[in-house]
């Protein structure tokens, strides 16, 4: 069908007409090949403006429409809809940006008009070759995979499950709860972390719409938005979870003690263990690395098994439920889901790399998480704040910004340290009323709701605030009163004095950093990481939970350091996005995709390796590549790369682009 093109030049009030001679441009346009009509009008985006187009389509039988006005990023959807209303395929519409790219950036009226003409002629030449495209829709599988069982994952999972959609909650450790389960109190409200978290944890454990997969790792993801397939490795627990009653007898029997991860190495756990009293599921697992029987089996020896058999001569029985099962092996489970929520959280910055802070060299230099455990009633000291020698500290220094705001480690601010540091001084004050507490800070960032008030409260409680970053923690005493103490060196910048502050205990308020294997996860679900290593959201302001991969959402600290309120809010947001997809039931997939002409494809696979979305697969029989249009996002990188020109990028075909180049150069 011979193209019949209509061209419409918008005045945009004086925004365009003030600089560009719109009539002249319309005049010029009407002279171009295949242009049936060219008009200019005050506001093309207004209803009358749109009707102008609609009527011409009907009356003049236009089959191509060009509007020269603002940026397509602004009104392309508007005019596409108008065309569709008049029965014209949306992809037979093209826009020339003569406002943002022309009238607004050029002072010289004549030059502006010339440029406008060039842009219009480009659009006209381009549209000559444009073809109708269909946006396709695919059904959305309503099952959801949530990766990570911390507060973010828990919140998202519950929101979705409560609206009666199946959730697979995958957690690496043997219990959900994440970091929040380790905390003592939460700022600024000071309510006990466990008290507010455990109800949610148990709900997750019992929820009929949540399949909890603890001690499990995501292995592989394939498919595309609405229709993912995921492989999950459920690591062998060597304890039959159906039978285990969580009585804990096995822990008492087990002779092997190792440092407890949950207690940050301050306490011990057994080789067979339940990580903490309120764990969900509250069932034992055997850590194969430390279990002497499982290690023995590798050398064909059969040792220990006390947890299973008990100690006969003493008449102590082993696991009465008969749950111990050394024959277990890892299981790979495959699930079908429509969307994925990544909530893999953070890891604490390891301060041992900052040698001058003495972590690992001096006892009683603790990380933030260690202090949480020390102060936690379920912790190794049952909540008593004690030095390694069992004494009660008379003075404690809390050092801010450890690993954060520091080019040698992490440039970003970890956002939570100021507040949890303040919380610590309250917890210490509570338990050791006459302790000297020092806060060494650079800036106090108490930005959240009720945070500044919390800071004020702490001031009343009598905390020594020292404005200065600690330079060093040393055991080298220079005066008698420093003997046997940890001396914190800093400049009190408000009085410009060097200070040596002798204390019994030093707490390093360590920053939050991306998990060591974040890159691995990013690769699995094909999302990207920002420079700091946290997962990259689609838009930092307007789309903070979506990612570059449709159907994959991020929430919580894996996307960037944040406190619990923000995490919960973001988790609910992610859930809302997922539920929106589910309730719509279908997703539109990009019509602008690449197609490979099998006849031309030489099977070199260059495109396959270039595609960031794994949308291109190689057909071993035909020895050619083909594009999965549901995965393709139409970036066109493969089109440009194909040495045999076998790939066409829809709506950005070489022909169309060359015509456009021709146009701008008239």
């Amino acid at each position: 069908m011979e193209p019949r093109i209509g061209v419409y030049i918008c005045h945009c009030g004086s925004n365009i007409a003030g600089t560009v001679a719109v009539e002249e441009v319309a005049q010029f346009a009407s002279g171009l090949d295949s242009v049936v009509v060219a008009r200019d009008y005050k506001y093309m985006c207004s209803d009358p403006g749109q009707n102008l187009i609609k009527d011409d389509i009907k009356e003049l039988g236009l089959n191509r429409v060009v509007v020269a006005s603002c940026s397509p990023r602004m009104h392309e959807p508007t005019f596409r809809r108008a065309c569709e209303d008049a029965g014209l395929n949306a992809y037979l519409f093209e826009m020339a940006n003569i406002r943002e790219h022309c009238s607004w950036v050029t002072e010289d009226k004549q030059a502006a008009t010339e440029k406008a003409k060039a842009l219009v002629s480009a659009a006209v030449r381009r549209i000559y070759y444009q073809e109708p495209l269909e946006t396709r829709e695919v059904p959305v599988n309503s099952n959801v995979l949530v990766l990570g069982g911390g507060i973010a994952g828990i919140q998202a999972a519950l929101e979705i499950a409560d609206s009666e959609h199946q959730v697979y909650l995958v957690e690496r450790d043997s219990s959900i709860g994440g970091h929040m389960a380790q905390f003592d109190k939460t700022f600024p409200t000071l309510d006990c972390s466990a008290c507010i978290l455990t109800p949610k944890m148990t709900t997750v454990g019992q929820h009929q719409y949540i399949q909890l997969m603890t001690y499990s790792e995501l292995e592989e993801v394939s498919g595309y938005v609405g229709n993912f397939q995921a492989k999950i490795r459920m690591k062998a627990k060597y304890v039959d979870q159906e039978k285990c009653t969580g009585c804990g007898r096995c822990q008492e029997l087990c002779p092997i003690s190792v440092p407890s991860e949950f207690d940050q190495g301050l306490g011990k756990r057994k080789a067979i263990y339940i990580p903490f009293p309120y764990a969900v599921p509250n069932k034992a697992v055997i850590d194969a690395e430390s279990c002497s029987h499982l290690k023995g089996l590798k050398e064909g020896k059969d040792v220990c098994r006390l947890c299973e058999k008990g100690i006969e001569k003493k008449g102590i029985a082993g696991c009465e439920a008969g749950a111990i099962d050394f024959s277990q092996e890892d299981k790979i489970v495959e699930v079908e889901i429509g969307s994925i929520i990544i909530a893999t959280g953070f890891q604490q910055f390891d301060p041992s790399v900052i040698y001058e802070y003495g972590y690992g060299h001096y006892d009683n230099v603790l990380t933030g998480l260690q202090f949480e455990r020390l102060s936690n009633a379920s912790g190794p000291t049952s909540g008593e704040i004690l030095l390694t020698d069992g004494r009660t500290p008379e003075s404690v220094a809390i050092i801010h910004c450890v690993g954060s705001r520091d080019q040698n480690y992490h440039e970003y601010c970890s956002r939570v340290c100021c507040m949890y540091s303040l919380k610590y001084s309250h917890l210490i004050r509570e338990k050791i009323p006459n302790a000297q507490i020092y806060q060494l800070y650079i800036d106090l960032r108490c930005f959240g709701k009720g945070y500044e008030e919390f800071y004020n409260r702490l001031q009343k409680e009598g905390v020594n605030f020292v404005r200065g970053r600690a330079a060093e923690v040393t055991g080298v005493a220079e005066t008698p009163e420093e003997k046997g103490k940890l001396v914190v060196l800093c400049e009190d910048t408000l009085i410009s004095r060097q200070r040596r502050i002798p204390v019994d205990m030093v707490i390093l308020s360590c920053g939050l950093e991306p998990r060591a294997d974040a890159g691995e996860v990013a690769r699995l679900v094909k999302i990207s990481q920002s420079a700091d290593g946290f997962f990259l959201e689609k838009h930092p302001k307007l789309d903070p939970v979506a990612t570059a991969t449709d159907g994959v959402f991020v929430t919580g600290c894996c996307q960037g350091p944040k406190d619990i309120p923000d995490t919960v809010a973001q988790a609910s947001a992610a859930a809302a996005r997922v539920l929106a997809m589910i309730s719509k039931g279908k997703v539109e997939v990009e019509a602008i995709t690449s197609v490979i002409d099998e006849k031309l494809c030489s099977g070199c696979k260059i495109c396959k390796d270039l595609c960031p979305y794994g949308a291109i697969s190689f057909d071993e029989e035909k020895k050619v590549c083909s594009v999965n249009e549901a995965l393709c996002k139409g970036c066109g990188t493969c089109v440009a790369a194909c040495p045999s020109g076998a790939i066409t990028g829809r709506h950005f075909t070489t022909q169309q682009l060359l015509a456009e180049v021709e146009g701008v150069l008239v």
């Binding site: 200065g468 970053r469 600690a470 330079a471 060093e472 800093c490 400049e491 910048t493 410009s496 200070r499």
Partner: protein, 190 residues
């Protein structure tokens, strides 16, 4: 060596334009440098304060102080600075500005010491310790020379005070001077 007095360029710009001086714009005033400095408590203004003063435009305050002359070049501040500021280099940049502006500082002998050291580097390309020391004490305070006698003698006794200076071969010396003269001619990086 001839010193040049500079056009009245504002010091903050002047310093930030110097190798090592860029840092003053980046500083977050955390005090790590001052706290790490083995000598800060002897300085009239510790490094962090110097940067603050420079930002506040209090140049005379800075240049007339003993601070930069008390830098020991131990680089502890530099490796610890969370903003990657080369504070040691900045201190020496300040030394240079002060020198060029011919602001001698009465309260420390270091400028004189640096100057006399440099004179030897410049003139013969090596440091004959005896010569240098005597030269310095003559320039600063001959009486201190007497106080130093015990140390000097013990060094001498252990054959550690060679009296003869090391000299380069004539053609090498000519080359060295040619380079330095050119440098002199090109001077003005401040």
């Amino acid at each position: 060596m001839k010193t040049k007095v500079l056009n009245g360029k504002n010091l903050a710009q002047e310093i930030s334009a110097l190798p090592g001086g860029e840092g003053i714009n980046l500083c977050i005033q955390c005090g790590t440098c001052s706290a790490s400095c083995p000598n800060a408590n002897r300085m009239e203004h510790a490094p962090r304060e110097l940067i603050a003063l420079a930002r506040a435009g209090m140049y005379d305050e800075i240049l007339s102080s003993n601070s930069m002359w008390f830098c020991l070049s131990c680089y502890l501040c530099t490796v610890r600075c969370p903003r990657g500021i080369k504070i040691t280099d900045m201190m020496h940049a300040l030394d240079r500005v002060a020198t060029r502006r011919q602001l001698s500082n009465a309260r420390t002998q270091t400028p004189t010491m640096y100057k006399s050291f440099s004179d030897f580097v410049y003139s013969i390309g090596s440091i004959p310790e005896v010569g240098f020391m005597t030269w310095f004490y003559l320039l600063s305070n001959p009486l201190r020379a007497l106080k130093m006698m015990p140390v000097a003698l013990s060094l001498l006794k252990h054959g550690r005070l060679p009296v003869k200076a090391r000299r380069l071969k004539p053609e090498a010396e000519r080359q060295r001077r040619a380079i330095l003269d050119k440098a002199e001619e090109l001077e003005g990086i401040l």
